[in-house]
Each structure stands twice: as structure tokens, then as C-alpha cells.
Symmetry: C2
Subunit: 273 residues, 2 copies
């Protein structure tokens, strides 16, 4: 097989297996090529991934070694993506009664969701995260996108126990913005004791939901290594019960009367740089 | 830029943009290469994608032409994947009270979910689908995986209206297996009139939920071009209210007493061949 053919196959394989150690012998056998050729291919690939701003190959030396694709999105790509997203969110027809913002169309776009996931993975890839935790429903697609890049499973906390899930652990928590008491449940067998996790959600006002998830995760002795939200509401900053988090966007001045919203960058760039 | 560098970048781009028309001038400019070189690159890529069994490049001639990556998974890959999945589901510790099956761990694996999506996309890629519709919660990740390969948005039908969604259309339907009356809602602005859709869900017993979705979609004059479920329960076949669907797996003889389940292939291969 020619190098050009091999590179197409290897690129596909590497991109489909982020964060996973791939040994040289694996590729060597798969494409019937000498290890030295595979090694050269990987050098070319590493340079090109960096050039494209979508990550790099980490080399692990030794007999059990190989390469791992680390999906780091460069700042320029991230900024372009976030600015476009912010502009789209500033559309005043998105304002809903109660000062909420319609985002379902954006969160329904697989490409947008994948890029959001890429940014969180960029920020969290060095944290040895073993699972991504989210709460139903809107955080789910984002959580899967992050998990795909981190090569870990997704655990979904539910607001209602389902008969199809088996035994569960539940907690009550106070929703920060509405001050209502709510319930959250997590199936016992879905999370091993002591797992390192990150929490992902679409939106954070005062942070009550995320605080509730932290309490629930404590019951599983999980270690919360990172918290990421797509958008945070600036207006709720004073009442916030969660402080150490990563936000991609910040929504402020949702003015229902004058049909105006301001959407700016969150703390993403402080976090990754 | 050398061909080897360019092929890595182009492979990444093509795989990230399935079903999307990409013009030769786009690549020509992106990689500063002659159109004839790009054309050769695409021929190499097309052959290699076929060789790897993950699809092909469709060429569209003319001034507005280019190539489109059609994500067709070959039968051998599909069979290997489905057999592994069936084996994993046959684990008797998955049996839950009521004859349900614990599947959340499998549906929590981004790679598994992505492959499930790949199979549905393989079956549906020629149907000009414009949106993937699912119902909260378990179908969501599968729906996104399908939508990513079909390059269309996801529309989520909810069982509870949320204040953050704006005005909705709702219907009542009878759940086929439990005979209970349930409600489903879809936000008005989430689906344009007359859209061609496919319905995706994780599990089908008698099909009441999917039938409910069909009724709801009728209110939007949507055209249901395909229905796909990960697993169907064989035992409910006689009472089934939905008949024209694609299933990847079939679950039968869930024997709680003797801790035994049979999981076999669904009608996928009849459908794609």
C-alpha cells in the first residue's frame, strides 16, 4: 500500500480514536508497512494536525508505547466559533417569557454541538477524566460531544427515576434561581465509586443544578475535576453557589421589553491559556 | 504543500462534513494546489474509503459540482458491530424488574452510539432526510449520531413542556405496552412545515411512542421517510401499531426467572441490501 493510501486510513483511524493509545505495530500490521514507515507517517500527521489547529499526536515511548491523538482546538478556531455562536444568540427573537433564551435550534445542530464538545475537551484533556456527567435533557448532546473527544462514557443524571434503570441514589436540592426544591437521581450501577468526572451542562444561572449534581456525585465518591457550561447568565453572578467552572459564553442584559440581549465570551480563554 | 500533508487535512475535512457538497476550488484554495492535483487526491481518497468500508465520495459534475462523502458502513463492519452488541446485551445481569433491560452503560459509550448512528445513516442516506426526530431521553444520543452523519439537525420531542421553549403543539397518545395515556410536545418553532424527517428511538415494544410521534409530526405536515430503533421487543410483535421500521437488534425471551435473554439481529440487513 502506498503512503498516500495509508495516510488516509490512518488519519481516519486516529481521528475516530482520540485520547486512545495506538501502538505502531497495530498500524504496521493493519497496513502491512514497516514500523519505520509508520513512524514517518505519524510525524507527517502530527505536523499537519498542528498546522490545521485541531490537536497533535502525543508520543509514548517504550515497548507499550505508541501515539495518542490529543484533540486541542487552537485559539483562533475557538474564537471564530464562539464569536459566531455569540452573534447568533444575540438575535432578539430568541427571548422567551421569563427572560429565557431559545437555544434549541443551535443545540440541535450536530456540528455546533461537536465544536462545543471540542472546546471543553481542549480545556479538560489533561485532567484524566474518566466520565462526563450531565443532567437531562439539554446538556445531553453536549456531554456526548465532550465524551467522544475525551474517549470516556457519559453518565446521565435524571430528574425522574425510570423503572428501566434499576436501583438509584437520589438527592433533593434547591434550584438557585427559582428557589424550588427539586429531585435528582442517578442509577447505582451507572457510576463506579471514586470515578474522576467532569460535569457538563448547557446553561447556568445561579448554579443550583450543578451544585445538586456535585452533592449527588459525592454519594458516589466521585472526584469532580472540571465543570463546563455552554452559557452562564451574568445577572446571577452575585447569588452563584458554584464558582469554579468553565463557561464558553456569558449572557447579560436580557431585556424583554426592548428586545435586546448581550452575549459575550465566557472565561474559556482564561481557562485554557 | 506535499500531497501527503494535503491528504491528511482533506481526509479530516471530508470526514467532518459528511453528505455536504465540497467544491474542488475550495480544496484548491485551502491547500494552494492545482485542481488537477486535488482531483487526483479525491480519487485516492474515494478508493481508500471504499477499501476501509466506511463509505465513498460521490462526484457531482458541472460548475456547481464537487464531491460529497456518503457514510456507508459495509456489511462486514456492521455485522461485527451488531454481533458484539447483541452478545453484550445478552448478559443476564441486565434484566430489570418488569422484563426491562439495562442498556444505559452501552448507550453511554460515545463510540458505540456513533456506530449505531453510522448504521442508521447507512440505511437512510439516500432518503433526502432534512431532520432527525427523537423523543427524550434515551433516544437523544443516537439521534445526534445519526444526524451528524446525515448532516441535518435534531428535533427533540419532549414528554413535558418546558417554559424555556416557547409555544408548543402537544398530543395525547396511548402507550402500546402499558396502555396508559401520555402526552408529547414539540416546540412550534423547532420544525418547519413539510420537513422530511426520520424518527429514531432506542427501544420499541408495541410502538405506541413512535406512533405518537407520527401523529405529532402530522401536525407539522412532516414527511416521515424512515423509522429506526436500536432494539425491538419480539414478544410484542402481534400488538405492534408501527410496522414499517428498521431495527438493529431484536430482543426476545426475556426470562426474569431463569435469568436468560435472547438478542438477535433485527431487520437491518434486509433493509440495506
Amino acid at each position: 500500500m502506498k503512503r498516500s493510501d495509508r495516510l488516509i486510513g490512518m488519519t481516519e483511524y486516529v481521528l475516530e480514536h482520540p485520547m486512545q493509545l495506538i501502538s505502531l505495530p497495530f498500524f504496521s500490521e493493519r497496513y502491512q508497512a514497516a514500523k519505520s514507515s509508520i513512524s514517518e507517517d505519524l510525524t507527517i500527521m502530527n505536523n499537519m494536525l498542528k498546522e490545521e489547529g485541531i490537536g497533535y499526536l502525543e508520543s509514548i515511548a517504550g515497548a507499550a508505547g505508541g501515539v495518542r491523538y490529543i484533540p486541542k482546538y487552537n485559539d483562533q478556531h475557538s474564537l471564530t466559533f464562539l464569536e459566531t455562536l455569540a452573534n447568533r444568540l444575540e438575535d432578539p427573537t430568541r427571548i422567551l417569557p421569563g427572560g429565557y433564551l431559545f437555544m434549541s435550534d443551535l443545540l440541535g445542530e450536530p456540528k455546533t454541538v461537536r465544536n462545543i464538545g471540542r472546546l471543553f475537551a481542549t480545556a479538560f484533556s489533561h485532567l484524566d477524566i474518566e466520565a462526563v456527567v450531565t443532567v437531562a435533557t439539554k446538556g445531553i448532546p453536549i456531554a456526548y460531544a465532550v465524551a467522544a473527544f475525551l474517549n470516556v462514557p457519559v453518565i446521565i443524571v435524571r430528574r425522574d427515576p425510570k423503572i428501566t434503570e434499576g436501583s438509584t441514589v437520589s438527592i433533593n436540592y434547591v434550584s438557585g434561581s427559582s428557589r424550588k426544591i427539586q429531585t435528582m437521581v442517578l442509577t447505582k450501577r451507572s457510576l463506579k465509586n471514586g470515578t474522576k468526572v467532569c460535569i457538563i451542562d448547557d446553561f447556568m444561572k445561579a448554579g443550583g443544578t450543578i451544585d445538586g449534581m456535585k452533592s449527588l456525585l459525592k454519594e458516589f465518591n466521585a472526584e469532580v475535576k472540571g465543570i463546563g457550561v455552554l452559557a452562564e447568565a451574568e445577572d446571577e453572578e452575585d447569588e452563584r453557589v458554584v464558582t469554579d467552572y468553565l463557561s464558553l459564553l456569558q449572557i447579560s442584559n436580557v431585556d424583554v421589553k426592548n428586545a435586546k440581549i448581550d452575549v459575550s465570551l465566557g472565561n474559556y480563554f482564561d481557562y485554557v491559556n
